[in-house]
């Protein structure tokens, strides 16, 4: 009897501990502000247009945001190392164009090979940038600005200034982006797979942790034996590879490859990262935040056309919402940090 009582007490204790840690975990979740903001925004839009929170629209938002969020994952790594990559829009266009030209020449090519071609082209672009940044020590912003123009020029050169249109692409290639498994669009599945791999990479591998180490303090990282150059090279190569993948997905989704595909898209990607709490000063950034940042931008792109305001106000509203989101996130984060300090046992 007594034993049972202690058992139940122990169980209760355990249960209590668990719930305590859960609430503590919620309180520790730094992107809470952003999440709350997204919920409030969605409710607001829903009140104006009841077709916003329908299954079809949510699926559209997720599909349209997938490419942005894939790129944001790579950009997060780059920004954590105190770098920036302005060339991704051009890399995306180049790899998309090359894979589109390839499938228009060889319509029987397996779609996975077409994806491989795009990722390969993107990887080469990333390796070149990584080389410039890590070995020749050019500032990332300059190196990528230069290569952005190089890649954009190459895109026009490979295509001869022409577009690759829907009728030149085989069905199998277009099906990469339109196909679905269990009712979920392929683009969403690919994005989720990339989040999982990226989560494992940044939190559970040595190389992943070294990326953060370099970002928060490059000198001590170097002294403690981390080969900074290699890590930087790797980070830019990953970014290039992801841009290449995004290029294939983009061209497949819109069934058209142009020379000026996704020009200026890098700014949206950087915005998603900053919204998600990645610090431009380096060393700070979480995958969950970046995904939320991309989702917020995706919701904005979807919702603004639906609330029926003039196109001039759309830009204004978009800018204001982004600023408010950053503000709310910063305030909530400050509160959580103070809370955490108070909790700390001295």
């Amino acid at each position: 009897m007594k034993q049972a009582a202690t058992n139940s007490a122990a169980l209760q204790g355990a249960g209590h501990d668990k719930s305590g840690s859960l609430s503590a975990n919620i309180a520790k979740f730094r992107e809470l502000g952003l999440l709350l903001f997204i919920v409030i925004l969605s409710v607001g839009v829903q009140l104006r247009n009841p077709s916003f929170l329908t299954w079809e629209n949510i699926s559209d938002i997720a599909t349209n945001t997938a490419i942005l969020s894939i790129l944001a994952v790579g950009m997060m790594l780059v920004i954590i190392t105190r770098g920036i990559d302005l060339s991704i829009g051009a890399t995306l266009a180049l790899s998309g164009m090359v894979s589109a030209l390839t499938v228009s020449q060889y319509p029987d090519l397996h779609p996975l090979l077409a994806v491989g071609v795009g990722v390969g082209v993107g990887l080469v672009c990333g390796v070149v940038i990584g080389f410039l940044v890590s070995w020749i020590n050019i500032l990332p912003i300059i190196a990528t600005l230069g290569m952005m123009n190089v890649f954009r020029g190459l895109t026009f050169e490979t295509s001869g200034g022409k577009w690759v249109s829907a009728h030149q692409m085989p069905e199998s290639f277009k099906a990469i982006a339109t196909g679905s498994v269990f009712g979920i669009n392929n683009l969403i599945l690919i994005a989720i797979a990339i989040y999982i791999v990226a989560y494992y990479f940044v939190s559970h591998t040595r190389t992943g942790r070294r990326v953060y180490a370099i970002g928060s303090n490059p000198e001590s990282a170097e002294i403690s034996g981390i080969r900074t150059g290699r890590i930087l090279w790797l980070v830019y190569s990953i970014m290039g590879g992801l841009s290449g993948l995004a290029g294939v997905l983009w061209v497949s989704k819109f069934a058209s490859a142009q020379g000026d595909t996704a020009s200026g898209y890098e700014l949206s990607v950087i915005a998603a990262c900053v919204l998600g709490g990645v610090s431009i000063a380096g060393g700070v950034g979480k995958l969950s935040g970046v995904i939320l940042g991309a989702v917020l931008l995706g919701i904005l792109n979807n919702a603004l056309p639906m609330i029926n305001v003039s196109p001039f106000w759309q830009n204004f509203i978009q800018g204001s919402i982004i600023l408010i989101a950053v503000l709310v996130n910063a305030l909530v984060k400050r509160g959580i940090d103070r809370n955490n300090l108070m909790r700390r046992k001295i």
Partner: protein, 354 residues
Amino acid sequence: MKKFFGIFLTAVMLVAVLSACGGKNDGNSGGQASGSPAAGGDSGAKKKFAIIYKNTGNPYGEKEMEGYKNAIEELGYEAILKAPDQPTAEAQITMIDELISQKVNALAIVGNDPDALQPALEKAMNAGIKVLSLDSAVNAESRMLHINQADPERIGRTLVQGIVEMIGGSGEIAILSATSQATNQNLWIDWMKKELEDPKYADVKLVKVAYGDDLRDKSVSETEALLKSYPNLKGIISPTTVGVAAAGKVLTDKGLKGKVQLTGLGLPSEMAEYIQSGICQWMYLWNPLDVGYLSGYAADALVNGTITGAVGDKFTAGKLGEKEIIADGDGTQVMLGDPFKFDASNIAEWKDVY
């Protein structure tokens, strides 16, 4: 490291120098190739009509030059077709100088720059050459006449008539434009609205003008928003290449063929897929052959003195019938007229052209 860097730099410079040489060679051969066959047949008294397009290797431009050549040959004269390798004003100026020394009778130009060609073209006009521009205009001082491919009124009215025919005379329609600031788009949309004022369109309701900014992703989002905000939407007019193709893609992916109709102005190559699948039954754009053809007849009328390029002058342009010159800002222009209709019967022939 240093040594390696040196080698790398040398290699880069070498490639740059070699490619520059390559470009020059190409330039010469390209210019010669397009110029020499026509210029070679120097038959003395025969009148010579020249046309300079923006650059070589552009199927749209080749159709335009072909149309010009057809008109000139119909009239029994000699056509000189030229296009530089690169779409720059400098390259066109060199060609204009060549043509002045060849003493051509008329020169039609698709300008790479509205103002930069002015000195060269004025020199040509002073030498007695009749100068006109087509498609892409040069400024009013450097030409006698401009041939405008897009008649805003005809485009706006034709698009509305097209969509109304597709949706069977009644229902909600929407417009998907480029940017809210695009002058030509807004002019076309104004004409669409004027056409819709006609009482016979009493059952047709324009619910929204959306702006996709000529970006793929934004045009797709805007189309999706139109479909969700207006569940009874029956037709979309998109007078812009990127918009109409993006809308075609969305309607395809959502399986709305036959439920929501689509027309607009689009590139045949971009729209071939959706016209062949029936998503878009037909769409419009000007026909580059006709733009060139009209320019040929206008050039002849200028040379003959039938017209001087003044407002109110009239001339007969072969199979296109009579055309009148109207004002265009400081200068004058001739409108081509109705846009050309691309549908399932002719798209296969045009999809490789432009």
